[in-house]
């Protein structure tokens, strides 16, 4: 399969299909996942292949079907619950934060919840403020959850299987703006390690730490920087909770500089956390202050130019990093 180009959407679909074939206990439910074919066509034709008992259309009841997913997981099934977009997940936040994340703990280890929730997220389709946020940090704040961000085709394709094997609730964030992107897919015989961040590109001058839509942007920027003689290392966080501090620390210790990129707005974000950890663990390794490029502190606007301005763009990454390194050399 290596080398064949495949869309991000198709990666997710193949992952679901493979999971359904691998284990009878796996079923998927969500709004429009069946007859409609998935709001983003991710599950197109899966209903025809697996039938309505395994690809279950649900009513508009985010709290209801996420709660039912938790119950089904308690009852021994392996549900994949699709929430149409992260915006609507807020209606199910009670179930996610108060039930899925707490039951293991409150029951003194007796009841684990092997549930996977997939939801699409992201900014960039001019959908205005109620359909365009990057709310990953809200979920990354909650102990008891494992929060994954599929920032590459590899992860979109290979993250689901280990997520289903995890005995605890896992949320996978997928990015709507990436659905149509085609890429070659690496062969991942060992699967994705959902406890580790991944170094997507090695470098010696600076570490770009990012996730989600930031990954390809950072890689693109790194190529451009390489042309200017700057070797940036790109770390894809991939796991937003529990955070893989080790990989971050190792990379920053090597490059002595850190630059964090994320779409979510800056205040109380994943980058806030990563930045703080670098201060705690790598202060004496640093040759420059940690810097961040984040989403603007604004409900995402509808017009394209304002929407574009509200999230980091590759050109800004390049400029900012050149500045950090220049400053360093003065």
């Amino acid at each position: 399969m290596a080398g064949d180009r495949i869309t991000y959407r198709e990666c997710i679909k193949q992952a679901i299909r493979e999971a359904m074939l691998a284990d009878e206990r796996v079923f998927m439910m969500g709004e429009d996942v069946g007859h409609y074919g998935g709001a983003f066509a991710v599950s197109k034709n899966l209903l025809q292949e697996f039938g309505p008992k395994r690809i279950m259309d649900t009513p508009l009841s985010e709290a209801g079907f996420v709660g039912a997913g938790i119950g089904a997981a308690l009852g021994g099934m392996l549900p994949i619950v699709e929430i149409m977009t992260v915006n609507f997940s807020l209606l199910a936040l009670d179930q996610i934060a108060n039930n899925a994340a707490t039951l293991l703990h409150m029951s003194g280890g007796q009841f684990n919840v092997p549930l996977v929730i997939r939801m699409s997220t992201g900014i960039g389709r001019q959908l205005a403020a109620q359909h365009s946020h990057s709310w990953e940090p809200i979920f990354a704040h909650i102990p008891g959850l494992r929060i994954l961000s599929a920032g590459t085709h590899e992860d979109a394709r290979y993250m689901l299987a280990p997520a289903l094997a995890d005995p605890d609730p896992v949320i996978i964030f997928e990015y709507t703006s990436m659905l149509n992107i085609e890429r070659g897919l690496p062969e991942t015989k060992t699967g994705v390690d959902i406890s580790k961040a991944k170094v997507r590109r090695e470098g010696r001058d600076i570490t770009i730490i990012t996730y989600g839509t930031g990954v390809y942007k950072a890689l693109e920027s790194a190529s451009e920087l390489a042309a200017a003689g700057i070797e940036a290392e790109v770390v894809d966080l991939r796991v937003l909770r529990p955070l893989d501090e080790e990989t971050i620390v190792a990379s920053v210790a090597k490059t002595s500089r850190a630059f964090i990129v994320e779409d979510a707005s800056r205040s109380v974000s994943v980058s806030s956390e990563v930045s703080a950890r670098i201060m705690e663990k790598c202060f004496y390794d640093l040759d420059a202050p940690v810097q961040r490029l984040c989403g603007a502190e604004v409900p995402i606007p509808y017009p394209k130019h304002l929407e574009d301005a509200s999230v980091p763009q590759p050109a800004q990454i390049v400029t900012a990093i050149k500045k950090i390194l220049q400053h360093d050399r003065v």
Partner: protein
């Protein structure tokens, strides 16, 4: 729709005394809990069930050990009837590691895998959708079980109630929804919170077979619960049962009860399910004064033993703070 007492229940002496024993055990255990709370042995929120005993006892006797049970934070009674050891419940309320949830949950979060007791849930209506999911799993796994979910009438105003009812009816899953209508959601009376106070109508609106029953009368609750569980086992469909009851004590230990008259409480106490059932059993010659005395002394001893046990239990070492955030075993 409230059923008239039809005596379809024929109790043996042994059964009858067991039911009475369970109600008295709940009552005494709760009174002891209140005492231990004032002694600051139990902390946090403590919600007592005094007055509502006939509901837990009457409904749970209809279930088998394989069935799932979910409750609210007012669940000591249900846990006792389900067979959790009084000492283990008391230890949980003391926050001790020998408690049924390892001390991590406290009074509002009793859990027990052995008896399929899924909480102890403290978000009003938060467990209703989970009940639907457990029933869905049973059906998918082809297990012939009923999931029984208790909640108060306050929960019926939440959107989560309506989502769960709709899903249960849509998917036709075997859930017994039991509304314990004690007329108050904390301090707010039913009439101030529900536009439609005939609560059973709300189940019928979803096409769910619904009934209501006098929750102060054990025999009637048993009758209604047996019928409900039998119907669910036959059809695999959900069922909605409203038990009209009353709590004699405050909502929680923090409640000054400014919202109701003492005379109202006293009036309801006339219908206390325990003396009522005791009288009935005596009339039926299923209970003598000696039997009653024996039951009461047995309960007395068991409740004291529960406290003694909790006292001797230990607190989990702080080094284990982070345990049970994520599973240690793989799935």
């Amino acid at each position: 729709m409230e059923q008239q007492p039809e005596q379809t229940i024929n109790l043996s002496k042994e059964q009858a005394q067991k039911l009475l024993y369970q109600m008295i055990l709940i009552r005494k255990f709760e009174e002891k809990s209140a005492e231990m709370y004032t002694k600051e042995k139990i902390r946090g929120f403590l919600h007592l069930y005094v007055g509502e005993e006939a509901v837990a006892v009457g409904v749970l006797q209809a279930l088998s050990p394989e069935d799932n049970v979910l409750c609210t934070y007012r669940e000591h009674g249900h846990a006792l009837v389900r067979g959790l050891e009084p000492g283990v419940i008391m230890a949980e309320m003391y926050g001790k590691q020998e408690g049924c949830s390892g001390g991590r949950g406290g009074s509002m979060h009793l859990f027990d895998a052995k008896t399929k007791f899924y909480g102890g849930n403290a978000i009003v209506a938060g467990h209703l959708a989970m009940a639907v999911g457990l029933a869905l799993a049973d059906r998918k796994m082809k297990r012939d079980q009923v999931t029984c979910c208790f909640f108060g009438e306050g929960a019926m105003a939440e959107g989560a109630f309506h989502e769960a009812m709709n899903l249960a009816a849509l998917w036709q899953v075997p859930v017994l929804f039991v509304c314990e209508n004690n007329l108050y959601a904390m301090g707010t009376a039913l009439r101030y919170t529900h536009a439609q106070t005939k609560l059973e109508i709300k189940g019928a609106a979803y096409g769910i077979t619904s009934a209501s029953v006098d929750g102060m009368d054990l025999l009637q609750v048993m009758d209604a619960a047996n019928k409900a569980v039998q119907t669910i086992r036959e059809t695999g469909h959900p069922y909605f049962l409203v038990c009209n009851t009353y709590r004699f004590r405050a909502h929680s230990m923090f409640d000054a009860e400014l919202y109701r008259e003492k005379s109202e409480v006293d009036q309801w106490k006339q219908r206390d399910p325990i003396p009522a059932f005791t009288r009935y059993l005596k009339e039926q010659q299923l209970l003598t004064d000696t039997d009653l005395h024996e039951i009461e002394s047995r309960v007395e001893v068991e409740v004291q033993q529960a406290v003694d046990f909790a006292e001797t239990c230990s607190f989990e070492p702080v080094e284990e703070l982070l345990k049970y955030t994520y599973s240690e075993k793989q799935n």
